[in-house]
């Protein structure tokens, strides 16, 4: 998993509880682990993988006689602020798709108040590659890009065919409402006028598809959120924005050009062809993929990305006057060409 920079002190919400020192944190982890499994003798190798203000990810090993259990802890010390699922709901979704036969890390424990570690859960730590450019290089060397593409298709098919009963309540937003929200964001007082985004909005408004049967969507299904080994797909990660919607949305997202990592001619995550993905997907689901519907969601994905990038100029002028923020905010033009190419029918 890519490591993120430490957040500045000022990024932390002011109502966050004070952080435990390392020793207290380790002691609480050990106590929690023993409550779950009395065989556990200790916790070792605690290392922070990502450090957001609202979500932290740690790697750690539980020691048991004759066994080491490698785990990942995802936790939020003071609750989650954004639109993501709560961590217990995220764990429930991972459990459900795992029981449905999808390769995901198994959930080891969902934190309770007794654990005094905040909200969160522990899951199996799976070895393998997550960095997109390395995955792309691996498939280029081994020639198994088409096979990995088929595996991604079958994985999405599993997600989309999961019965919704038994899942926690998940967000579901009508397309028209999504477009209205983007419109409001785009037309905020003082925002730079953006004819390309306005055009994309109109284009989308005219093509809102007939609603599909609502399905569970991963929400951020792409290279970067999967673990891959030389033999292929090992697990699907990062379920925090799972929601209910049109399956074509998940099929489109990994084809949005930035997620091709420079490999434009392989629209599926820079590793494969859409036909390969759709064929494997349809074999499993039994329903066909409509490429025009996927294109609609590709345009919607680029527009959502573009509107959010364009809004970052306010972060720069507000609480984050950093060179990184300045340069990210300047990238909305990338989404503009992506939109125009998709509208022009370019792959």
């Amino acid at each position: 998993m890519a490591s993120a920079p430490e957040p500045a002190e000022s990024d932390l919400p002011s109502d966050s509880p004070p952080e435990d020192d390392e020793r207290t944190f380790a002691a609480k982890l050990a106590a929690m682990a023993r409550r779950v499994d009395p065989r556990i003798t200790g916790v070792s190798g605690i290392g922070r993988i990502t450090a957001g203000a609202t979500l932290q990810t740690f790697a750690l090993d539980l020691e048991a006689p004759n066994e080491t259990i490698p785990l990942i802890l995802r936790r939020s010390p003071g609750g989650r602020a954004n639109a993501s699922l709560s961590l217990p709901d995220e764990a429930a979704v991972i459990r459900a798709v795992g029981e449905h036969g999808l390769a995901v890390p198994s959930i080891w424990h969902v934190l309770t108040s007794e654990d005094e570690l905040g909200d969160g859960f522990l899951m199996q730590r799976i070895d393998g590659e997550t960095l997109p450019r390395r995955i792309i290089r691996m498939t280029e060397t081994s020639g198994n890009g088409p096979e990995l593409t088929r595996q991604l298709g079958r994985a999405l098919a599993r997600v989309h065919s999961l019965p919704l009963e038994g899942l926690p309540p998940l967000p579901q937003t009508e397309i028209a409402t999504q477009l209205t929200r983007l419109e409001e964001e785009l037309r905020k007082e003082g925002a730079q006028p953006r004819p390309v985004f306005e055009l994309a909005l109109k284009w989308l408004r005219r093509r809102i598809p007939v609603p599909a049967e609502p399905r569970l969507l991963h929400g951020d299904f792409r290279i970067g959120n999967v673990i891959v080994g030389p033999e292929g797909l090992r697990a699907v990660l990062d379920w925090e924005i799972a929601h209910i919607g049109d399956p074509a949305e998940d099929l489109a997202w990994m084809q949005v050009p930035p997620w091709r990592f420079g490999n434009l001619e392989k629209p599926v995550g820079g590793i494969g062809r859409p036909e390969t993905l759709y064929e494997a997907y349809s074999e499993e689901t039994g329903w066909p993929v409509d490429p025009e519907r996927v294109r609609f969601f590709r345009v919607l994905g680029s527009l959502r990305w573009g509107v959010s990038t364009a809004g970052m100029v306010n972060w720069l002028r507000g609480h984050d006057p950093s060179v990184e923020r300045a340069m990210i905010a300047r990238r909305a033009s990338e989404n503009e060409i992506d939109l125009l190419r998709a509208i022009a029918g370019q792959e």
Binding site: L199, K202, L264, I337
Partner: protein, 127 residues
């Protein structure tokens, strides 16, 4: 007339300093930030070199599309409003090729290595 060296020449030395001198002496996030800073300096250099001509061409196209003159930002706001209020046909080739050209001109400054930009340079869409 300004003294020489020119601003782009000076900025080129700043980017080279950040990449070749500062970056190797920094670690972790600071080294990453130095790289981003060098890219930022390059962006500003490209803007100094290219912006006048591209703003001029963009304005000419906007005046032709809208049928009136004005400041560049105002013309863009007018075009955005015309699209929003259905006063401009979003399938009109003249509009689409203007937006295509404008996006390419922005990317020549913002991110000339972006894959979609490289591809778009070779494409002539049939609107």
């Amino acid at each position: 007339m300004q003294e020489q060296p020119t601003s782009p020449e000076i900025l080129e030395t700043v980017a080279a300093y950040l990449r070749d001198v500062a970056m190797p002496q920094l670690e972790g996030h600071a080294a990453f930030t130095a790289r981003v800073a060098a890219n930022a300096v390059d962006l500003v250099r490209r803007e100094i070199e290219l912006r006048e001509a591209s703003d001029c061409a963009e304005k000419e196209r906007l005046v032709a599309l809208l049928g009136h003159d004005g400041e560049l930002e105002k013309l863009n706001a007018d075009l955005a409003a015309a699209i929003r209020e259905d006063r401009m046909d979003i399938e009109a080739p003249k509009l689409l090729s203007h937006l295509w050209q404008t996006s390419l001109e922005k990317l020549a400054i913002d991110q000339p290595r972006y894959a979609s930009y490289r591809a778009a340079l070779e494409e002539t869409p049939e609107w």
